[in-house]
């Protein structure tokens, strides 16, 4: 990034002049991303809807990307800017790895993303915010970790689960009730799908699983073997199981009262 700003600054997001505007700009926005840890790794998932005002701009957008072999980013906020930020982030991690011959630490990666979000502050003030969720497997500590951000680049590590985007309030509440310390990989995947289902239930900008079009959430797993995106068949199995139970209990699994 330092090299890029010297060599071709026009390629960097932070260096563009902003036209003065009145009110919010209409651009596609991505919505809900959730993450949950399990012993040995972390699951990161996102719904597939992009909205522009009250119009659904895209039904099958992908909002979860691998950052490198052991980490992934899920994006909420202005889709165009977020995708560019992820592309630059991926490039930077890969570039560092090739030049230095070693990977950045997970903390290092999280800090780097923080700086990139901060450089977008001008745009964020005009309503074009990008708020990602960063999840990765920490090779040194041998566990999955989740980092969440605010628009100013403030970084905070989340314990166990996290969510970002317009449906995050509902998704986080759902995960709060569902999360267990002893999740298996499959349990964690089911929990995040449940959380996305609840988010879609109450937030109009979050897309639920589209059984008719076979559009399911993107679910990714990062463990000591690296990043893996669940195939459509694997996700559809989880989604169908959740969907079938919801036919009987539309509000999802019930938690104990005490």
């Amino acid at each position: 990034m330092d090299f890029l700003s010297e060599h071709s600054p026009e390629l960097l997001p932070g260096n563009r002049p902003l036209p003065p505007v009145q009110g919010a700009i209409e651009a596609p926005h991505g919505t809900t991303i959730v993450a949950a840890t399990f012993p040995g790794g972390v699951v990161l998932a996102g719904d597939r809807r992009a909205t522009m005002g009250n119009v659904i701009a895209q039904r099958d957008i992908e909002k979860v990307f691998p950052a490198d072999e052991y980490s992934a980013v899920g994006i909420a906020g202005t889709a165009g800017l977020a995708v560019e930020m992820v592309k630059l982030f991926q490039l930077e991690l890969e570039h560092y790895e090739k030049v230095e011959g070693a990977q950045l630490s997970l903390e290092g990666k999280a800090n780097r993303l923080s700086t990139m979000i901060r450089s977008n502050l001008g745009m964020a003030m005009q309503g074009l915010a990008v708020v990602p969720l960063f999840a990765g497997y920490d090779i040194d500590r041998e566990k999955g970790r989740i980092f969440s951000y605010d628009v100013t680049g403030g970084r905070s590590e989340e314990r166990n689960y996290a969510a970002t985007g317009s449906g995050s309030v509902f998704a986080r509440s759902a995960l709060k009730k569902l999360f267990r310390d002893d999740f298996s990989e499959n349990d964690a995947a089911t929990a995040v799908v449940q959380a996305l289902y609840d988010a879609a239930d109450d937030d109009s900008a979050t897309g639920g699983p589209d059984m008719g079009r076979r559009i399911y959430p993107i679910v990714t797993v990062i463990n000591d073997e690296g990043f893996k995106k669940l195939t459509e068949d694997e996700v559809s199995e989880v989604v169908r199981a959740v969907h079938e139970r919801r036919m009987e209990q539309p509000d999802g699994p019930r938690a104990g009262l005490l």
Partner: protein, 255 residues
Amino acid sequence: MSTPFYVSPQQAMADRAEYARKGIARGRSVVVLQYADGVVFVAENPSRALHKVSEIYDRIAFAAVGKYNEFENLRIGGVRYADLRGYTYDREDVTARGLANTYAQTLGAIFSSAGEKPYEVELLVAEVGATPEDDQIYRLPHDGSIVDEHGSVAVGGNADQISSYLDQHHRDGMTLGEALKLAVESLSRDNNGGERTLTAEQLEVAVLDRKRPQQRKFKRVLGRQLARLLESDGAAATSAGESEGESEEGSESEE
């Protein structure tokens, strides 16, 4: 006022080439071979930290001999070139040909500029394609020329001798084990026809493997995996009769 001695341009260039060649010849060699699933790089390099072979981009790798600081400079330049290309356009648009051209320009400019000393390096740039026919290997000598190579190539110390040995023994469609064995054989022959033995610790081995599922095809072959590949080769070479043990180890080496 004294006039400087006249040196003819031919002589000046010949001197510079001689200087660079001598520098390169002092180092140990690197060989690059095509095999059925990609391209293998083998270097004699006892150091674990200073690499002679490195990744440039998805399908492209780089190997060099000569002065470390000079080729390291060129390597980082190459990584920057490739990453910038890939970010500005698309990952597909980064090619070994483009990179080799850039290197040739740089090396050529340095070689002919009177103010600078010529770089004492010789580079290899290889790209693995979808099929063995699409593989590309470029050799870039110190003066900025480009040589398009096929099958096998050696640079460094006694490159001529190693190259001719490789030319005689290399054939298309070798397995990784076979190619590695041939590379080590060629590297272990020294100037006066004698043989040294090279162990796994003295070798730096990397492959561009077209069968690798990830986008980035470059992979270092390290430690146990390398030892196993070399060992299975040794067994296959010395005990052709023991078919049982051979087939077992052979299947292992294909992992």
